[in-house]
Assembly symmetry: D3
Homo-oligomer: 65 residues x 6
């Protein structure tokens, strides 16, 4: 607690994910005044073929992130 | 906003998913009076071996959807 | 199954919610070929002060939905 | 209803998952006084490389569960 | 980890919730072989007017749980 | 996309929430290389009486966050 669940497009590198969870945890602790051990993060990789905005799947669109 | 998260059994065709997000978005806009660009949909494919009703996984049951 | 979880701004009328779940269920059954009894929908009312886009809470913005 | 969504590390055996959903459903019914058919459970397998505590992914740590 | 998120109808007593999280944690540890401290549970109270099955809100139906 | 859903204990000030979503969005954009407008954050306030670790609700414990 806090618990942070993140849905993002599949395709980020392992290095990006590692940096992301480290940075988000730091930011959370700084702003909310909790300790790092209290922050859990789950990242879910969502294929572009399963995420729609405006009724259209992201598949057809732009290149990877 | 609205954000719609849908869990369904794995196995739908890409065409069904595409039609589903288009139709759900239309319905949402019509009833709630928002614009299509405001509607996000995430579809999660759940294996039958990870979904239980009445304490029993769906694995053993009926054929694909 | 399918399970549909919807986050939307607080403030819709009960009548809108009732119409929304009925219409979404119909649409889902028609497109995915499931029966109505298989569709569960949970609607979560999110205050505008708890939903941010672009780093800004929706509080300050436009009027109710 | 109740709906139970469980995130756990990938790597449990099918037998463990089967026993888990059966046991959780029984426990739920006993304590909340509902019938088994009312309990739905979705299990999501999360790779260790997508779950962080204290800003660190679980990847580097201990062996499977 | 595991993380267990439970949606249930509003209206359970504090005592039921307390017993529920204790029992679910015990069951989880026994079956999955994890330690109690690894199990987090979040319970969300859902009003009957926000949960639909078969396109119909639970509002009109049976009495509290 | 990314979509960030955060469960935290009820009781943070509006100012903390505002700073939190701004800072998390900045961090996300910097690490993942997306633009701020692509980041949505939903914050859910969870009462301590609905969050358990180790089978025990957080109610009885320490003071607010």
């Amino acid at each position: 607690m806090p618990l942070i669940q993140v849905d993002m497009f599949k395709g980020r590198s392992e290095e990006q994910i590692r940096e992301f969870v480290a940075a988000i945890t730091l930011t959370t602790c700084r702003v909310l005044g909790c300790s790092a051990g209290d922050v859990s993060i789950i990242v879910r990789d969502i294929p572009r073929s399963r995420w729609a905005t405006g009724g259209v799947l992201a598949t057809a669109n732009s290149p990877p992130p």
